[in-house]
Amino acid sequence: MVICLSLSDTSLIERCRRNDIAAFNEIVGRYKNKIYNYVYRMVGSSEDAEDLTQEVFVKMYVALDSFRNQSSLSTWLYRIAGNLCIDAHRKNTRRESGFGGAVTSLNGPVFSDEGEDGPARDVADSTYEPAKILAQTELDAKIQVALSKLPEKMRTVVILHDIEGLQYEEVADVLNCPLGTVKSRLFNARTALRQHLGPYMEG
């Protein structure tokens, strides 16, 4: 594993093709949270997002031989994730929990049948500030609600660019669409989001 830490994505893929499980685990370790965050923002449910993220890496493992290194590994993973999200949406697995309902977050308390005094999530937080956490939870919920109101194509672009931090060109590569299309969708997505998140924006 120590050796894998210093290897490039390309080298790790070559090792994975030779059934090197350590290399596969290293890839998962590098990208699991990025992919999960993207998928979670797309589908709005932590449970569905985790299942879909698992599926992303299973598909990656199965389709390793078809990866041609024409794009980066992260681009390929985002592309797989995006396709799976579209498939999930088409299968109509949307739940209330992701859009307008309770949203689970590692940073927030668990809302159980015991009410708001239920057991806290077992996450160490050395800067425990209830008001701050609640504000973050509320903001996170508002962001998720605002994203859910966007058309899927616009939502994808704003998540990849503004939340995941991909450049315009990378987003175009993931979505396999022209750069102008990415910019146009982002323009429209931000215009819509400003209306929903106005109160949470400074100035």
Partner: protein
């Protein structure tokens, strides 16, 4: 000339022109010239200035959105799923840049060894072909030594035995006739060829 009116018209035209570019301006994705022009326009246009400020605030909120993470069981569940998949046949590892260097270093002595081996085989083959196969020694058949005295005795003996039947033994007659034709030096051991011996002894029959 109402310069104020002209300036107002100019700003409105720029507002329309730059509206679609404000996103890229906020993201720093414009060339310097256009970014400079927008910056100058923002300085005199409160509407666009407000648009830019609003965009920057939105981007800041999204950039700082709480990051979601997988559960602690994620890795173990995934590992179990992967273990349950059918094993792949490892593809032949392509030579990467990391390997090419080492292969170059290893391959040179291998090439030399191979060259020497090929040269040795070649030389051996040349030597083998020029020298010719060493035939296994054939048993030396000592030449037949027929003493003239023995031949005469044999003929006489045969004639005596077949006196009553001079024509029954054609070979004898042939032998008898050949004795006269073959000049034999009784003082020497003579090596008869197979043809001569056959002729004498009726070997043709």
């Amino acid at each position: 000339m109402n310069f104020e009116w002209l300036n107002q018209q100019k700003r409105q035209a720029e507002c329309q022109l730059f509206a679609a570019k404000l996103n890229e301006y906020v993201d720093g994705d414009l060339d310097r010239d256009l970014a400079w022009r927008i910056q100058n326009h923002i300085a005199v246009c409160s509407s666009c200035e407000e648009q830019v400020a609003s965009l920057r605030s939105l981007v800041r909120v999204l950039n700082n959105a709480p990051r979601q993470e997988v559960s602690s069981e994620f890795a173990s569940i995934l590992e179990a799923r992967i273990a349950g998949l059918p094993k792949k046949v490892p593809a032949e590892a392509p030579i990467t840049q990391d390997h090419a260097h080492w292969l170059t270093r290893i391959n040179v002595p291998m090439r030399l060894t191979g060259s020497f081996a090929a040269a040795a085989v070649f030389l051996f083959g040349v030597v083998f072909l020029t020298k010719g196969p060493s035939n296994p020694p054939t048993p030396t058949i000592p030449p037949v030594q027929i003493h003239s005295a023995n031949i005469s005795d044999l003929v006489d003996q045969h004639r005596a035995q077949s006196a009553g039947d001079p024509l029954s033994d054609a070979s004898a007659q042939l032998l008898a006739s050949s004795v006269d034709t073959i000049k034999v030096d009784p003082t020497k051991n003579h090596h008869l060829s197979d043809d001569d011996a056959a002729m004498m002894l009726g070997g043709g029959m």
